[in-house]
Amino acid sequence: MSRRVAITGAGMVCALGANRKDCWSALSRGESGIRPMTIVDPAQLRFQNAAEAIAFHPGDHFDDKELSLLDRFAQLAVAAAKEAIEDAGIEWTPALQSRTAVITGSCVGGQNTIDEGFVELYRKNGARVNPFTIPRTMANSGASHICMRYGLTGPAWNVSTACSSANHAIGHAFWMVRHGLADCAVTGGSEAPFNFGFLKAWEAMRVVAPDTCRPFDKDRKGLILGEGAGMLVLEDMEAARARGAQILGEICGFGMTSDAHHITQPTLEGPASAMRAALADAGLAADRIGYINAHGTGTPTNDGTETRAIREVFGSHAAKLAVSSTKSMHGHALGAAGALEAVATVLALRNGLLPPTANYVTPDPACDLDIIPNQARALQVEAALSNSFAFGGLNAVLAFRAAP
């Protein structure tokens, strides 16, 4: 069995807004959500800016009893899933609930909860930690809470592949619906990386920019960490049409590869072969792609390597491709990054408007792609890729088409 797979709902919460509408509004205006950090006091950190979901208020979505069991990363996951499911207008039946998969991506799960526990033990010399530390910290808690809230009893799990987590999750959900292993899927990713211990770990990695995220810019100094969640509802295209559902777009390809090279340094071949695999899976010739939502972290290493990989895969068509990194606006939300970018890509195809690379000042000859500097471009493209390349050399690329 091989079916076409429709995207019938999408939810998004990040530094650009607490819902998809506000996020898209900022993306289409090229407005960055990178601001001085507030959740953690940056006095003891080398970087001061972050892409925090400041418009997200947990109390708007959960009561206090529910919140006691939800780390911030799971709150974000459930909030985005709720928006996506309401957007899709699904009427749940026991049959559909048992045939719906929930596949999420998160790099570090409930780090905030474990960090609070460590402060209690090591700094305050406390004797015990929050009794819900385990259920809040486990990286599948976002997926589990989505299942419980909507009674979804089909296959459900969480993928943790660093910065590719959400793309791996969405890709597997897509394949399950395409091949009839599920009829519907709620899929995406969520991340909430702002706690002192985890930020110190990023500081030690020396890849976070002291200023802002400037992907493909000659003066790029690194990534800016972000938080948020993106969720999609995927359905069999024919079933979605039969019930008169809105079709936001089509997910049509997924490719994944491993560099098998170095734990932090990317290769050219790994990302390139993942893009080729996604095109082959989609049955799309390279020249059908009009837009790539790049991994585009803003680190010196990634953006140059990604540029060369795109040139290798697309050859002369690379000159006609529009490429942008929306991380310049919503930051690098790690395990949620691919999900935020998937929603951005689907909306770009739906609205005929390509979001820009914000904060762009100085061209870099090593990143000589058409990167849509600073201002969104009104352009209806037929198909698009969204790239995620993780530490550990794990690459995952999704292919999307505009709604038929």
Binding site: R46, R206, P210, K221, H262, T264, Q265, P300
Partner: protein
Amino acid sequence: MPDTTERVINLIAKTQHLDVAKIKPESTFEELGLDSLDGIQIAFALENEFDVNIPDDALPSLKSIGDIVKGIEQLQAAKSAAAQ
């Protein structure tokens, strides 16, 4: 107290599991087979050993033992100047 060069060499030998006799003051990272991730680990060890803060953007320019020694001495001089 051993001089800065000797301390740097000992530290790199220890953190990178290299034979100390094979590290010379003029050795480059490339000759020693060290990559950027090793550089991050060395910077961390240097910061602890010399009680200095090495800026992120200084790392790419550190390509040899000599570069490190010079950089550490500059950071120490700046630190003692700031303390006075």
